[in-house]
């Protein structure tokens, strides 16, 4: 395990409002790190900063030892936005083929990831005619097609049925075991239990940086939902 994402004193302002306040944290490879917090807590902004598409007001974000957004990271960091960003007027296979070529992935990888996200039978269908959950999986597949070292996934399992969610989380763990760094956001606490490590964000501040077990133990709560509530009521902080 090495620290692959290093964030030091990160501050982000949007529209005159500070949405991330001096965040300092590190994310390691080999495990799945969950980024949790209510909607509007700054999860997406933090992920955008890691990928290097967010204008930051202060601080430093580095990924794999170089500043976030550096050209050499573009084929090593996979990013899945919250809203599926794929072409609705192309089929699943065409979307994957395009991203594979842009990312320089080997031929044949496209079909493998299509199968991995459970869309083999729909590979020839137009993405625009698919359900939200299916589109989200296409979007996820396009980020996985070149086996990136770092995966930043913004709510990748929203709108998916429980079986599919379990399968995808298993897949995330496989990728992590293979040495990848996974930063996965969610606003559902039951997904927090599937992460090795949790970063809890609230109003742009880091409320906790713990393992799920540690969080339960520290707050003496029955489940993670209650634990998060208790943390907030106690005024946050470690």
């Amino acid at each position: 395990m090495t620290t692959t994402i290093e964030i030091d004193g990160l501050r982000v302002d949007r529209g005159g409002v500070t949405v991330l306040h001096d965040l300092t944290l590190g994310v390691e490879s080999g495990v799945v790190t969950g980024l949790l917090g209510p909607s509007g807590s700054g999860k997406s902004t933090l992920m955008r900063a890691v990928v290097g598409v967010q204008i930051v007001a202060g601080g430093r974000v580095s990924v794999l030892g170089v500043p976030a957004g550096s050209p050499e990271l573009r084929s090593r960091v996979g990013y899945v936005t919250q809203a599926p960003s794929v072409y609705g007027d192309l089929t699943v296979r065409e979307n994957l083929a395009y991203f594979a070529r842009v990312l320089g992935a080997p031929r044949g990888r496209a079909d493998a990831v299509i199968e991995r996200v459970g869309l083999s039978e729909m590979a020839g269908r137009l993405v625009g005619r698919m359900s939200g959950g299916q589109r989200a999986r296409v979007s996820l597949a396009t980020a996985l097609v070149n086996d990136p070292d770092v995966l930043v996934l913004d709510e990748p399992t929203v709108g998916l049925d429980p079986v599919l969610r379990r399968d995808l989380w298993d897949f995330f763990h496989e990728l992590a075991e293979g040495g990848a760094t996974l930063l996965v956001s969610s606003h559902v606490m039951d997904e927090a239990a599937r992460c090795e490590r949790l970063l809890l964000l609230r109003e742009g501040r880091l409320v906790a940086d713990v393992s799920p077990e540690e969080l339960l133990r520290r707050t003496a709560a029955a489940d993670l939902d209650a634990a998060f509530l208790r943390l907030i009521e106690e005024g946050g902080g470690e």
Partner: protein, 245 residues
């Protein structure tokens, strides 16, 4: 610049267009129908049709590609695919050139079909080769694409993007000399006319159709069209931001 990524982008844009059969049909059929209409409108006044026919033929691709590009690029921006692409190794130049190749290919088909109708069916005549007219039409298509790309940055919705056609392209068409000879325009209109790039696109077509000697002025017209295309592409590229607030 990677030829592979550029070619992949061009192929992707063409696949998207190919899916949209109705748009393709409209791109090809509408200019032909309009040519027929103008031909009938000037029935019995052959000279007028000969004067406006060839430039019209060469300006259609500019209008179509302006519209298609501004909407396509707006979609790239609003669906998040643009932000996504800019996090990949694809460079802005590769993206723009990929788009350019795809739309130029469509423009070739469009210009060839309309030329066949114009020169073959309706008896239009150009003193220079029909191939030159088609080439100018393709250059105009790329100019229209570059304009469309640039203005797409200033539209938040598709409604706004389509309104840029009457706001941005129509005045240039009105003043380029197609409807009223520039020599007959009020002085201040003529000044404006020569500040607008479509005027040079029109002049190049007009000279290719009616001017036996393609002198320095023709090449100046061509240079202005190409120069404006590069400028608009550069400005458009500047609106593609990797980092946003």
């Amino acid at each position: 610049m990677s030829p592979q990524r550029t070619a992949a982008t061009a192929a992707r844009v063409l696949s998207q267009l190919r899916r949209d059969r109705r748009t393709l049909a409209l791109l090809i059929v509408v200019p032909c129908v309009l040519m027929l209409l103008v031909d009938q409108l000037f029935a019995g006044r052959e000279v007028v049709f000969q004067t406006v026919g060839v430039p019209m033929l060469g300006l259609f691709p500019l209008i179509s590609m302006f519209l298609v590009t501004s909407i396509t690029m707006l979609r790239e921006r609003t669906t998040g695919t643009l932000e996504r692409l800019l996090t990949t190794p694809l460079s802005k130049l590769e993206l723009l050139v990929g788009y350019g190749i795809a739309f130029a290919a469509v423009a070739v088909v469009q210009a060839v079909v309309v030329s066949v109708v114009g020169f073959g069916l309706l008896g239009l005549d150009a003193v220079h080769s029909d191939v030159l007219i088609v080439l100018l039409a393709v250059a105009n298509a790329v100019l229209g694409m570059a304009f469309g790309l640039f203005v797409s940055a200033f539209a938040q919705t598709e409604f706004q993007a389509v309104q840029f056609m009457p706001a941005f392209v129509l005045p240039q068409i009105l003043l380029c000399g197609l409807f009223v000879d520039k020599a007959q325009m009020a002085g201040w209109l003529r000044v404006i006319s020569y500040l607008l790039p479509v005027t040079y696109a029109f002049d190049a077509l007009d000279r290719a159709a009616h001017d036996a000697t393609l002198g320095a002025r023709f090449w100046l017209d061509v240079a202005v069209v190409l120069g404006t295309t590069l400028l608009a592409l550069a400005l458009g590229a500047a609106t593609l931001r990797r980092r946003t607030a």
